[in-house]
Symmetry: C2
Amino acid sequence: MFSQTVEYALRAVCHLAIQSPKSCTTEEIAKVTKVPTAYLSKVLQGLARNGIVKSQRGIGGGISLVKTPDELTILEVVDAVDPIQRITTCPLGLKSHGENLCPLHKRVDDALAGVQEAFSKTTLAEVLAEPTTSFPLSESVPSQDVDE
Amino acid sequence: MFSQTVEYALRAVCHLAIQSPKSCTTEEIAKVTKVPTAYLSKVLQGLARNGIVKSQRGIGGGISLVKTPDELTILEVVDAVDPIQRITTCPLGLKSHGENLCPLHKRVDDALAGVQEAFSKTTLAEVLAEPTTSFPLSESVPSQDVDE
């Protein structure tokens, strides 16, 4: 139901969030996220066009997040590359329906709304802070609070 | 997020549910659902292959639902033509993750599970029984309980 582009965008942003505020090269992101470089470049262009990432040329440059991971939601990433299209008017173009959806299209739109809401409530920081034995994009879990 | 095929399948099945147990011709369904006949034929083939509709040749024949509308859920229709693909193993193929999804893929899979659950709880009969001023596939609301 989610496109390959959405999957790749989430992986890329996830890696940038882990490295944040450090910037990364496309090659580095491609390697970690296991996304073909050419495809990743297009995804990153979409993310840049929609204000999710920025790229800086020159030494010390690279790609980084525009917001901090605790301000950036999964929904913003998804909507930047492949927006969740809600049903706003009758897909059949029935005049008497208009914006007043029938129960069939209302159920479908409710499902879309549910996804939108769940994604809007989750930030990248939350995803990365969740206790887990499967850390995103990595075979190992980074050591935490080593001074404890 | 839902394909055109899903949208068309839901419309077709909705019309068949309204007419149930009567059978319909492809041309009739195409007209009411505003779906191009060639596209609709493919959608109906998919629905037949997966046991949602059956077609009978000859006089009085046509296409009809296999189940009654109160037994048929939206999820069954969606899964017959364009199944909701849950994430069951790490999309990056990370060995240490396997079936134990990381928090990123868990959130995406949770969204898919939410849609699956909502659709599994809704039958075609429920959709058609819901009080509305926008009756599915129709500019007018059918008169109900005329003997009251």
